[in-house]
């Protein structure tokens, strides 16, 4: 799969990530995988406690080994059927001893477009607002065990393929 990372400013942005990729599945199918909390949890690696609804906060426990002691909260912002889904959360909130609740959140947006006459879907994921996250928080990310994410992602990809 080709995942493009977009860089829009003169200087590399420290505030925003944009990923665009294409999948061979109809938009309705991809939409369900994103907007249905059970399905979202299945590929993301999280057990969510309720359905997604605009304005609602849904808690979820990570199911990724080594991270399964962590609980995240998704503050659902906007749901526009088959087109757009967004939520806010605390990025990289992976230290259970810390209370992130009073800190700024980032905004995660999913955008779906039909391609190949409806046989495929272009997915754009944008996460923005990192410049409001305290630098100390961002520096902490490097101290965390980082073997986890990458290797688990690989295992999962093999498992579902």
């Amino acid at each position: 799969m080709t995942i493009q990372t977009k860089q829009t400013q003169d200087m590399p942005s420290t505030d925003r990530i944009e990923k665009r990729f294409e999948v061979r599945a109809p938009r309705a199918r991809v939409w369900r995988a994103i907007a249905n909390a059970n399905e979202f949890g299945a590929w993301f690696g999280m057990q969510l406690e309720g359905a997604f609804a605009a304005g609602k906060t849904v808690r979820g426990r990570l199911t990724i080994p080594n991270y399964d002691h962590l609980t995240l909260e998704l503050q659902i912002e906007r749901i526009d059927a088959e087109h757009f889904f967004s939520y806010r959360w605390h990025p990289y909130a992976i230290d259970p001893k810390l209370d992130y609740s009073s800190e700024p959140t980032t905004l995660v947006e999913f955008r779906l477009e039909e391609i190949d006459g409806g046989k495929g879907t272009a997915v754009t994921i944008v996460e923005s607002g990192f410049d409001r996250i305290p630098l100390a928080r961002r520096a902490e990310a490097f101290r965390m065990n980082d073997a986890g994410w990458a290797s688990q992602a690989k295992k999962l990809a093999q498992y579902v393929a």
Binding site: M11, V23, A25, R29, L135, R138, A139, L156
Partner: protein, 117 residues
């Protein structure tokens, strides 16, 4: 949870420094310092349509959070990027981006397996 607040404030870089970046003009100033190296206030205000005094205030705001440093060069005041902080911010973003790459691959596998069954 007060213990976590205390733990946070002990960290050396605990100030919310990146709030200072939430401004297009300041981002532009950092972009020019990044591309051209240390520059004087005179050079930094060229083409911005903003007075040198205003540019100085923006640079000082960036300086207070440690993103730029200033020095005297003859009669001029010269500003330069403090690369370490920006480097942390960029590396952090790379890391989050790598997680999204992995999540995107999982999402793709998830929907394609289902669609092609």
């Amino acid at each position: 949870m007060s213990p976590s607040r205390a733990a946070t404030s002990k960290l050396p870089d605990a100030a919310p420094v990146f709030a200072a970046l939430g401004d297009t003009l300041r981002l532009g100033l950092l972009g020019r310092l990044s591309a051209h190296g240390p520059l004087s206030i005179r050079r930094l205000s060229e083409g911005t349509g903003v007075t040198r005094q205003a540019i100085t205030r923006h640079l000082e705001a960036l300086g207070r959070v440690g993103l730029v440093r200033d020095a005297r060069r003859g009669r001029e005041r010269v500003f330069a990027l403090d690369a370490k902080r920006l480097e942390i911010a960029r590396q952090y973003l790379d890391r989050v981006a790598a997680q999204w790459d992995a999540a995107a691959a999982r999402l793709q596998a998830f929907v394609e397996e289902d669609a092609n069954r």
